[in-house]
């Protein structure tokens, strides 16, 4: 997660997702932002906190097989730059979404629950907790 260009690729893919949703005529702006936020958090939760192990054989005799992707980043070291980046990006998206949905209560509730679902597993005290 700290190889060259992956943060830029991540930002671009979120931007492309948003543009695609914007292009759907029947969606209003608040709905598009809430969808962007929710889809982004769902994909992030699936890839970082649901999938365990590695998609290829590793020579570590299966040590990482029970760890989620998030727990494997930087060999489990906490508060590295990749972890900080991946923790901050959902928050930034959440602020943007809240602003563009004009703090509408329904949207606010959905987005807050969605944000917490990807923030809580990232806390160091939840490392390895099932």
């Amino acid at each position: 997660m700290n190889s060259r260009g992956i943060w830029l690729a991540y930002g671009i893919s979120v931007g492309v997702l948003h543009i695609i949703l914007l292009s759907i005529p029947c969606f209003s702006i608040p709905v598009v932002w809430t969808l962007t936020n929710v889809i982004h958090n769902l994909v992030m939760y699936w890839l970082l906190h649901m999938v365990k192990g590695t998609p290829f054989e590793t020579p570590d005799q299966g040590k990482d097989r029970l760890l989620t992707h998030w727990e494997q980043i930087d060999y489990g070291t906490q508060c590295t730059s990749s972890r900080k980046f991946l923790s901050i990006s959902p928050i930034v998206l959440y602020f943007l979404t809240s602003f563009y949905t004009k703090y509408d209560p329904a949207h606010f509730l959905i987005n807050t629950v969605s944000l917490l679902s990807v923030l809580l597993p990232k806390l160091p005290l939840f490392h390895g907790v099932r």
């Binding site: 543009i19 695609i20 914007l22 292009s23 759907i24």
Partner: protein, 39 residues
């Protein structure tokens, strides 16, 4: 050829390629239409 290589649809099976191109063309058309309307 570059488009096939960069998007990796070069290694997809024919039916996957059709699906991929259909989705891509649809999305691009939608985005262009929306951009046109917006501008």
């Amino acid at each position: 050829y570059q488009y096939l290589l960069i998007t990796c649809s070069y290694v997809l099976e024919p039916w996957e390629q059709s699906m991929f191109h259909t989705i891509t063309v649809t999305v691009v058309a939608m985005v262009l239409y929306t951009a046109y309307v917006f501008i």
